[in-house]
């Protein structure tokens, strides 16, 4: 697979400081299995980047490298370079806990804590030592507003986070992450398990917050990628058992209208995957 060369419709940056994430030649192993190889890409700040590709192509694995969630899985290994605003997140002594506070994550299945809506959103701030009731109230209200959920839950903040609908739960999870003011928001297929109205609201809020928070979204939905993202990266594992590669990366408008690689075109037009 070393022969593989990623095609870029936008030139890769040379200065890591102009990017949010600066990834070069990233490798990833689950035990002996080389899951990702030679991934190089830029994630631009204040924009939405979409990762697309068929199931099992490593896009979620790559996403979980970005806040070191893969550290929690035993026997995994990372090689290559991954810089957040120029700082190596896999550098020696880097605290993954603080990294994760700065790089929030939303999962495919909404996963609110079995606590009240208020406590869910206040969880992060409380961890950071915010104790004053008034400060917490403000953060909770502000975060729920940014997550487009405030109107629906403002009278039921004491209700269990699991008692609201799936789509509301997902927005609650977004509010919970936004409450700790992350710089980057990683979304791992956030809309695949929820209702269309909530999908709409989540896409709206992505557009609203992307100036402050760099967003990276993994999605199986081509239309969604085309709708919400500014940049798109297409991942593919061509042969089972071989590592996945980054086939093509660039502006969403280029990828969807004039893909360079034949495989990108095939995937986008629905010929496989």
């Amino acid at each position: 697979m070393s022969a593989h060369e990623t095609k870029y419709s936008t030139v890769l940056q040379t200065d890591p400081l102009t990017t949010s994430y600066y990834v070069r030649n990233l490798e990833f192993w689950y035990g002996d299995f080389n899951a990702l190889t030679n991934i190089s890409l830029d994630v631009m700040p204040s924009a939405v980047t979409a990762f697309i590709g068929p199931s099992g192509c490593g896009k979620s694995t790559f996403l979980r490298c970005m806040n070191r969630m893969n550290d929690l899985i035993p026997d995994t290994q990372v090689g290559g370079k991954m810089l957040l605003k120029g700082a190596d997140i896999y550098g020696s002594g880097v605290d993954p806990v603080d990294l994760r506070r700065r790089v929030g994550m939303i999962f495919q299945q909404p996963n609110p804590f079995p606590q009240s809506i208020y406590d869910n959103v206040a969880y992060g701030p409380r961890l950071q030592g915010v104790k004053k009731k008034r400060d917490l109230d403000d953060i909770v209200e502000d975060s729920l507003k940014r997550a487009n959920l405030w109107k629906e839950v403002k009278d039921i903040l004491d209700k269990n986070g699991l008692a609201i609908s799936g789509g509301q739960q997902q927005r609650l999870c977004i509010a919970r992450v936004l409450a700790v003011q992350p710089e980057v928001l990683l979304m791992d297929e956030p809309c695949s398990a929820i209702d269309p109205t909530s999908v709409q609201k989540i896409e709206d809020l992505m557009a609203e917050i992307k100036d402050e928070v760099t967003i990276i979204i993994v999605t199986h939905n081509m239309q969604q990628a085309a709708r919400v993202s500014d940049y798109t990266s297409f991942f593919l594992q061509e042969v089972a058992g071989e590592p996945a590669v980054l086939v093509e990366s660039g502006k969403t408008s280029d990828i969807f209208t004039a893909p360079i690689d034949k495989r990108t075109e095939d995937y986008i037009t629905g010929r496989f995957g």
Binding site: D98, G104, F107, F113, P114, Y118, G124, L127, D137
Partner: protein, 357 residues
């Protein structure tokens, strides 16, 4: 008349379906209940031409299947019913044998009497009630934290390798007969306690240590189940928020598993209240009011075992009285803890509501 005809033709249609599936049923179809007949009539009126031949034959439920299903359902019911009946019979029997104490000793004297003397014929239950409560309470204070922390370690911290040693050990501990644990208490814990706090070493402190060892496996296993049933996604969410392992365990996982852990503690308490042999061997068996962690006392269970063999008359009635109290206390303790845990849940919610509004 025309309605009757319709019914008959419907029946005839059914018969046609039924013939090869279950010929023996023919006789039954002619004696439908009133409700069934009404249904058949209205159905017949709605669907006028019943001559339409179905294009397929649907297999009917066979008689043997029906019988099997019904038999299984009643078997399960009987088993469940036996459990209920057993509890009811035991309570009734104990209550029946204990009842004479109302006249022989007097209920009030029995419940408030602090002296238990077979020779003098005074039977006061207070020393044993207090003794049981002290022994159970102390063993919970030691055993529950020990067990819950072990469960947390097994579920959240330990590697599979470590668990492959700890889990069988805990299960083995659960299987050790109580008389063996009692032996361990007599040989190891009693001298230790004697050296530590003085006295003979027989008393509440020794019983606490021995009992907490006995209830620990139950609580550990059930708590670990409760912790393991918490979805991984919740932990991931917490980590992804920048929480450390300990923050995740204390603030997310344990609150989520709280009810399961309380249930585990209740079951452990049930075991502690009923435990007889190990307690009997180390507690000292002196019918005295609790007077310190090293002064011998006795519990309801151990007193019953010690004296039931040679008791008669009023003495025996008094022992049945102890058994009745034991049953009531264990029942009410379980109910109390359940109520308390439910109340706390409600209270917490109310506070939150008031605060936010």
């Amino acid at each position: 008349m025309s309605e009757d005809k319709n019914i008959e033709s419907v029946e005839a249609g059914k018969e046609g379906l039924r013939t090869d599936a279950n010929p023996s049923k023919k006789t039954l179809t002619h004696t439908p209940s009133v409700a069934m007949r009404e249904f058949a009539e209205t159905a017949a009126q709605r669907e006028k031409p019943p001559e339409v031949r179905p294009a397929t034959k649907l297999q009917l439920v066979s008689r043997s299947t029906q019988i099997k299903e019904a038999a299984l359902a009643s078997l399960f019911f009987i088993c469940a019913f036996l459990a209920v009946l057993g509890v009811a019979l035991i309570f009734a029997f104990v209550a029946f044998r204990a009842f004479p104490l109302v006249t022989e000793i007097g209920l009030w004297d029995f419940l408030t009497g602090t002296t238990w003397s077979v020779a003098e014929g005074t039977f006061g239950a207070v020393p044993f009630m207090l003794g049981s409560l002290v022994v159970v309470g102390g063993s919970l204070v030691i055993g529950v934290p020990l067990a819950v922390l072990t469960a947390i370690f097994m579920s959240e911290v330990a590697t599979p390798r470590a668990n492959s040693i700890i889990r069988p050990a805990v299960e083995l501990l659960a299987g050790v007969p109580s008389v063996v644990v009692g032996f361990f208490g007599v040989v190891v814990v009693v001298p230790l306690v004697s050296a530590l706090v003085g006295g003979a070493g027989f008393g509440p402190l020794t019983a606490w240590i021995v009992l907490s060892i006995m209830i620990m496996p139950t609580i550990t296993t059930l708590s670990e189940d409760a912790l393991n049933s918490i979805p991984m996604g919740i932990r991931e969410a917490s980590y992804a928020m920048g929480a450390t392992k300990w923050q995740t365990i204390w603030k997310v996982v344990i609150p989520a598993a709280k009810i399961g852990i309380i249930d585990a503690a209740i079951l452990g308490m049930g075991r502690a209240i009923g435990e007889t042999m190990a307690v009997l061997m180390v507690v000292g068996n002196a019918p005295q009011i609790f007077a310190g962690i090293s002064a011998p006392i006795s519990t309801m269970t151990s007193q019953i075992v010690l004296e039931m063999g040679y008791s008669s008359g009023t003495h025996r009635t008094a022992l049945f009285g102890l058994a009745a109290i034991l049953s009531l206390i264990s029942m009410s303790l379980v109910l109390t803890v359940r109520l308390v845990s439910r109340d706390q849940h409600k209270k917490r919610k109310k506070v939150k509501k008031g605060g936010v509004a």
